[in-house]
Symmetry: C2
DNA sequence: GAAACGTGTGTAACCGATTACACATATAAT
DNA sequence: ATTATATGTGTAATCGGTTACACACGTTTC
């Protein structure tokens, strides 16, 4: 019995003969160890908790896929936790994860506190406190990229649709955008939204066309909003990108399936998930981690929703 | 100790006084029971396994959300398992789930066999054997709905993009479509695809415009393909729906964000997930289940990618 | 030849809950 | 008064693994 355990875990002394016996017995009996019993004794498990603010957000599938692949490659499984934005379910889930002896937690939820239950946490694209581990995209740069792309293309009147300021990433993007626009004499306006839901995106698209008369460029807080604006514009008979150009953020898979193709800033969702899970596993294994923070660079994905680049930007 | 356990689980005799003491102690010590220890003894747990063929499919987020909500409402958490279509990871995951003492499994993967490990399984939108529990949509009806919508609107030459015949649902849809088209003298052609990936969707869209000259209506196997066709058509200068009308399948959230809005058949993904989790929990609790199979009806979602309805359909 | 060491195996304690069972007390029935 | 019944609590076994420890044996080392 102890010998079997030693054979399975390859620690301690086991004779070649005994190991063989164990191996054949395992095959014969189709034995597989009970992870629950293991977990009880070890006070940890082969599972990591995943806390997401709203799974139905189209940005998440790729993220999850990255997480799942990396976790599986390292021998871990993922417990799913979906939290409505704003609810305090996050706490409940953290307790639940603790009750399940999870080895660590990946979280994209604001209020996740790591101190109550002592589990390693890696934040996904949201950073709360200075000493947290996190994998995230450089949103300031993303904002700059988007703004610059617009600036290079005869911007006219610019409308910035900014995400909820409760979301740190949204703030950074805005900072990036403004850092490019402010030094110029481009006219811009900012419209702030409260969520990333499709419903609000549609509503916003309608509103902005009523509220602002002459808009020539839209920098949207994400692809959902960009898509909604494009649809509304086309419905109003405006030509994209001639009359109004729009740029999104995220590069969700659909952005390439609309007409005209949406130019956007690509967030490496899969990679982010993959690296976050890797980082978490390193922490769990107490490997020395090179960096507590991994910053990934967003990328401009040029499609057809922006006008042609203007050669000179002189006044 | 035993009394504490009885107080927590509300079975056996516990004096009012003792119960109070336990309650305050729990609060004072911030005690929460270890689910792993529970699970070890009970040989089951508060977790269900979820097996999906490809999380990045846009149809799944809503499905997962439904599952997660229902599971949570019943006190269960979800372990995620992502399986590449065609790989034999499904088996591995089933073993892994068994090792974790999961209470049951929800699966949307073909080869999931329920016999090796005795856990209740509920199939999601795929049915393998006659005696399985399953929640699925009536795809024959969905096919009929789509075909009828097209027939009502001056079909012209119809192109049917059919999903992989390895997917039972795809077959049913085709059956439904043909059951409507065959009795008429409408001209149609069938183009069969191999997957539900975006890449193949784009490729297919390009191919069909090369291969078939005059197509007036497209019945796509899902929204991805429909969107890809719409984009390609618009790129070629065709007007939707005047020159070519298209109908999708799934009603993924983006279908309402494109221009023109995609008319499609709505699969109640959220509801399906929710009910599947409910059914599974019932099985787990050994409640008497009214029906082993729950068939949900798809619905026609009219938007703007089909032409106006023709009044009379006389020849 | 005795002590030290390396190798291999088995026994028993442990992880944190649940629950069968024994036991104590109070109340009801005979 | 005696026996049954209801109520409450504590002890110990159990779930299925891991591992500290004791022990046995063979080989070096001095």
């Amino acid at each position: 019995m102890a010998t079997v355990s030693r054979a399975l875990n390859k620690n301690g002394y086991v004779s070649e003969e005994a190991r063989k016996k164990v191996e054949t017995a395992i095959k014969d009996l189709k034995y597989y160890p009970n992870e629950v019993a293991r977990s009880l004794f070890q006070k940890t498990s082969k599972m990591i908790g995943l806390l997401l603010p709203d799974i139905s957000n189209p940005y998440f599938p790729l993220l999850m896929k990255g997480i799942e692949e990396s976790a599986r490659a390292n021998g871990y499984s993922v417990i799913l936790g979906n939290v409505e934005e704003g609810s305090d379910l996050g706490e409940n889930y953290m307790t639940l994860f603790a009750q399940q002896n999870v080895a660590g937690v990946l979280s994209a939820v604001e209020g996740t506190l790591s101190h109550e239950h002592a589990m390693p946490i890696v934040m996904l694209d949201r950073v709360l406190e200075e000493d947290d581990f996190a994998v995230y995209t450089n949103d300031v740069k993303g904002g700059k990229l988007a703004a610059q792309a617009v600036m290079d293309r005869d911007p006219g009147n610019v409308l910035i649709i900014a995400g909820p300021k409760s979301v740190p990433g949204a703030i950074d993007r805005l900072i990036g955008i403004l850092s490019v626009l402010n030094p110029t004499d481009v006219k811009y306006q900012i419209y702030e939204t409260n969520s990333y839901t499709i419903e609000e995106a549609e509503e916003t698209a309608k509103n902005i066309f009523m509220k602002y008369k002459r808009i020539n460029s839209v920098i949207a807080s994400n692809d959902l909003y960009a898509l909604a604006v494009m649809k509304e514009a086309q419905q109003k008979g405006l030509h994209i990108p001639r009359d109004i150009q729009v740029i999104g953020y995220d590069d969700i898979p659909f952005s390439q399936l609309v007409y005209p193709g949406l130019t956007t800033i690509s967030q490496p969702a899969f990679k982010l998930g993959y690296q976050a899970a890797d980082l978490l596993v390193s922490r769990i294994r107490k490997n020395k981690v090179e960096e507590k923070r991994i910053k990934l660079d967003p990328k401009l994905i040029l499609r057809d929703s922006l006008r042609e680049k203007t050669e000179s930007e002189e006044k």
